[in-house]
């Protein structure tokens, strides 16, 4: 029996606002425990929440970027449960009236495009951090994180494999980072993923019983966990058993999911409208204003690069991994007029340099102008492509422009036919055996002569000229 997986993903993304969603405490990550808290986010008696407008703005941005309907009105609800990292004993979230609904993202898969529906996007507050003591039966609470704004993005159960899930995650991740509203750091917890997984016999319409997966803290782990869970459920069904609806935790070390069979299993969250917050009315004007301010999104940018710059999809993919990189590339193209060449230099050399040093493109010592200038120098024939490889490395190390380096090191390409012809003559004279063999039919030795000329000219000879000269002169 063949089974198809049905997967839905729930993503929680921390928003990059300066202050928390309902109070003015800083959202800075990594601060000393319990130093970014106030009476409001601590849930002390008598406090009240006031909504950070930027949270609404950022959520609208994400809603627009994922083609959602932005609801004209939305409101907050209380999700009631007891846990030490939840100071008020309830989380302020959105339940019946979320901000955005019914959107989608398109995935670029090998088989082609696939559209994954987004059910809803809503705003809520984050909880604190609970740390368990291994040596005694205590837990320690740091409430810095309570009140950091989150958006929850719920997908339709349209995902059909662990690979698709990965692609979906990456797509959402790049959109969030492109919009500048989330830093997408899974290790630090600013981008989290839970999954709902079920399987059904091929051809069956009805969904199978689903399990909820939690505790997948990297892209790789999401994929591994899903792959494992699909197999686990398959094994159960093939053995004639039934999948239990439950929450399962991914165990990274063991490579398995464990059931969270605890008394807390069935949560009754007793949702009701939060009486301390008023409705959020989002006018069409506000949406328009935000829409205008949206950056070009990665998918659209890639399509445009392929279309306008005639570069392959692979190049477009690499060059759009960040907005900054894409902007850098386009600047170089604008200044040099050579999209494919620019792409090669960035992908082949610039990226290699900055990745080695773990630098961001924004901190690259080679400015787009400098790179464009170097490209022009190659185009003009001042230096050869081979020499340029040395030059660009020097440019990166020193930050000096190409021209200065070329002059300093005397790397100007030799294009004087007469001078080159002289060199060829000398090389021919110095290698009579090879010359004889070449003339005798060993064509492969052409490369040997090219190499010798290059050596004699310290690589500065114009390759095309060498080619032509050698062809003529070797022939005798």
């Amino acid at each position: 029996m063949e089974y198809d997986p049905v997967i839905g993903l729930e993503i929680h993304a921390q928003l990059l606002t300066d202050s928390k969603i309902f109070c003015g405490c800083s959202t800075k990550f990594g601060a000393s425990p319990n130093t970014l808290t106030c009476q409001i986010c601590l849930g002390m008696p008598g406090v009240l929440p006031v909504l950070n407008k930027k949270v609404v703005e950022y959520t609208i941005k994400m809603g627009l970027a994922t083609h959602c309907r932005i609801n004209a009105e939305c409101s907050f609800a209380r999700k009631n449960y007891f846990y030490p990292d939840l100071p008020k004993g309830y989380q302020i979230s959105q339940y019946a009236y979320p901000l955005a609904e019914q959107g989608y993202v398109d995935l670029e898969l090998e088989e082609g495009r696939k559209r994954i529906g987004i059910t809803r996007i809503h705003m809520e507050e984050d909880a604190g951090k609970l740390m368990h003591d291994e040596h005694n039966p205590s837990s320690y609470i740091d409430l810095n994180r309570t009140g950091v704004p989150l958006i929850e993005i719920v997908s339709e159960p349209d995902i059909r494999s662990a690979e698709e899930a990965s692609a979906y995650l990456r797509r959402l991740h790049e959109i969030l980072v492109y919009l500048g509203i989330c830093d997408g750091n899974m290790e630090e917890g600013s981008f989290r993923c839970d999954a709902n997984v079920s399987i059904r016999p091929k051809g069956q319409e009805a969904f199978g019983t689903r399990a909820e997966l939690k505790n997948m803290n990297s892209f790789r782990n999401v994929q591994r966990a899903l792959e494992y869970e699909i197999k686990r459920q398959q094994y159960i069904l093939e053995g004639g058993g039934e999948v239990v609806q439950e929450t399962r935790l991914w165990d990274d070390t063991g490579g398995v999911t464990h059931s969270m069979r605890s008394k807390e299993e069935a949560h009754d969250y007793r949702y009701f409208p939060d009486p301390d917050l008023v409705a959020v009315a989002i006018s069409r004007e506000w949406v328009e204003e935000i829409h205008k301010g949206l950056p070009e999104l990665p998918l659209e940018k890639r399509e445009r690069f392929i279309r306008d710059y005639q570069i392959p999809a692979y190049d477009a993919g690499v060059l759009t991994t960040s907005r900054a990189l894409a902007d850098y590339y386009e600047e170089v193209v604008k200044l040099s007029g050579q999209p494919k060449v620019a792409s090669n230099w960035i992908m082949g050399d610039i990226l290699r340099f900055i990745n080695e040093e773990k630098r961001d493109i924004t901190a690259c010592p080679v400015t787009p102008q400098a790179l464009a200038d170097m490209i022009r120098l190659i185009e003009e024939g001042t230096i050869s492509g081979k020499i340029a490889k040395e030059v660009i490395e020097e440019m990166y190390k020193t930050g000096k422009p190409a021209k200065a380096i070329i002059e300093e090191k005397g790397l100007v390409q030799i294009t004087d036919e007469g001078a080159l012809a002289q060199v060829v003559t000398e090389v021919m004279a110095a290698n009579p055996n090879q010359l004889a063999q070449y003339r005798g039919g060993k064509d492969k030795l052409f490369g040997f002569f090219v190499g010798q000329v290059m050596k004699a000219t310290q690589g500065k000879a114009n390759p095309q000229l060498i080619n032509d000269l050698l062809k003529k002169m070797l022939a005798g």
């Binding site: 002390m44 008696p45 406090v47 009240l48 006031v50 009631n80 004993g89």
Partner: protein, 485 residues
């Protein structure tokens, strides 16, 4: 007359004229407290030192000529208003040692107006009750008869004012907790429009119903207090940015030509005969001032209690979830693990009435019941509000009794929760609709117990309430009686 027996406006005169100092006033108040507090028990905490220090500072300011509205005037605060550095217990074991790191907005405002605080007054635990009998710190007695309750939940504040243990006090009202004790203790009490006075720093009971308001000895003092308390606060999302008029301007206008609505559903079987009499007398006085009393109908009145006792406990059950022994307050040491810690802390920390309301609230919100109870109640609430909107199209204000009976004896009604709830029947609708309500004394029973009349007006029409209350007070000729303590 002793200084502590005077009103704010009388003391303001004396202070301005240099006839008295804040220190003298505060000392007079504390002499009175020393004399009667052991019988009345209006306070949970007395802040004598701080009050005297405040008085000294006030006297400095007065000497310089910096006299603000309440400079040097001793005010008492209900113990669910957060006072920075001073315990705020909500009359509960679970917060018995809680010290807030911030002041409530109204506390800040009163401080800025120069007020001096005498202490934190007693109340029903977490404001849940109408007799102040559920306080963890003991019962407050009605100064008119120490065997009777002062009303609740702001019983301590009401008793402190009528016993002259402070010049004015602040309370809170979720279902009548200012107005009912005001009536039972014979003082003036006002519940403002929802959103008129900031709730920031008011320990929440039912967020969509709670309001803070003043207890005063007369209507003029109420206007003075409202001028300070009212106003938009950006720290409260439900605060309403409406202008605050000078409420004193309403004190001397008459009510000639006014239409005063008498809701027929409020004049029912079960009202004590003497209370009914006092209200009828009041109506006569009102008509004698040139107003016309007309009958109006609030047809959904019969649902008010049900709506209130679904919405209030539901919100309360959520608001009180934070009392879990983790970050502040009482924690039971008997718990072997987290679950036990939660259950034992909350069960030992909360009193019976609070637990009952949490149970009811949790039940109505739990899965399967939300639609039948909470949602339905919210819908009927809209209908109740509509009733008032319609009524105010026909009249300027409404006039109703405040309580069905005068103050009952301590312990008389605590066993039957339903009976207790019935004593809220005239006041609850006000909170549901969010409209303002004001209570003024309108007489005494033969046994010498106070009766209060309630006036209701439309949203942000506190001015109208003060207008009719002031006019009535002037014309009622009730005479100045004081409790014999």
């Amino acid at each position: 007359m002793e200084l502590n027996q005077l009103t704010i406006h009388e003391l303001q005169e004396k202070i301005k004229a240099g006839e008295t100092t804040s220190t003298e006033i505060v000392q007079a108040v504390f002499r009175r407290i020393d004399a009667v507090e052991k019988d009345v028990h209006a306070y949970i905490l007395l802040t004598r030192e701080m009050a005297l220090e405040g008085a000294a500072r006030a006297d400095e300011e007065i000497k310089k000529g910096n006299i603000k509205t309440l400079t040097g005037i001793p005010i008492a605060l209900k113990d669910l208003l957060c006072t920075k550095g001073v315990t705020t217990t909500c009359a509960s074991h679970i917060l018995h040692n809680y010290v807030p790191p911030y002041d409530a907005t109204v506390v800040e405002k009163l401080r800025d107006a120069g007020a001096v605080f005498t202490g934190k007054t007693n109340m029903d635990e977490f404001a849940m009750g109408s007799s102040t009998e559920t306080s963890y710190f003991g019962i407050t007695k009605n100064p008119w008869d120490l065997e009777r309750i002062p009303g609740g939940s702001s019983g301590g504040s009401a008793a402190a004012v009528v016993a002259d243990e402070c010049i004015a006090a602040i309370g809170s009202d979720t279902g009548g907790s200012i107005r009912q004790p005001a009536a039972l203790c014979g003082v003036v009490g006002m519940k403002p429009t929802y959103g008129r006075v900031s709730r920031y720093g008011l320990v929440a009971f039912a967020s969509s119903l709670d309001q803070i308001g003043p207890f005063t000895k007369d209507v003029e003092d109420c206007a003075i207090m409202m001028n300070i308390l009212a106003g938009y606060d950006p720290r409260e999302s439900t605060s309403v940015p409406a202008d605050v008029p000078d409420y004193r301007q309403f004190l001397s206008r008459g009510i000639g030509g006014w239409k005063v609505g008498i809701p027929k559903e409020y004049f029912i079987e079960g009202i004590d005969a003497e209370v009914k009499d006092a209200i009828q007398q009041t109506i006569k006085v009102i008509e004698g001032m040139g107003a016309k009393c007309i009958e109006v109908s609030l047809p959904h009145t019969e649902y008010c209690l049900a709506v209130y006792y679904i919405i209030a406990p539901a919100e309360a059950s959520s608001n009180l979830a934070r009392y879990d022994g983790v970050k502040y307050g009482f924690r039971s040491l008997d718990g072997r693990d987290l679950m036990e810690m939660y259950k034992k802390s909350r069960s030992a920390g909360f009193g019976a009435e609070v637990k009952r309301r949490i149970m009811l609230g949790t039940y109505v919100l739990s899965s399967g019941y939300y639609d039948a109870y909470y949602k339905k109640a919210s819908q009927v609430r809209a209908l109740i509000k509509q009733d008032f909107d319609e009524a105010f199209k026909q009249c300027d204000v409404l006039l109703t009794p405040t309580t069905p009976t005068p103050a009952f004896k301590i312990g008389e009604k605590t066993d039957d929760p339903l009976q207790m709830y019935l004593s809220d029947i005239f006041t609850i609708s006000t909170n549901l609709a969010g409209i303002p309500g004001m209570v003024v004394p309108c007489g005494f029973t033969r046994a010498g117990l106070p009766v209060g009349v309630q006036f209701l007006a439309g949203h942000f029409e506190e001015g109208k309430l003060i207008q009719i209350a002031a006019a009535y007070e002037k014309n009622a000729n009730l005479g100045k009686r004081r409790p014999k303590l």
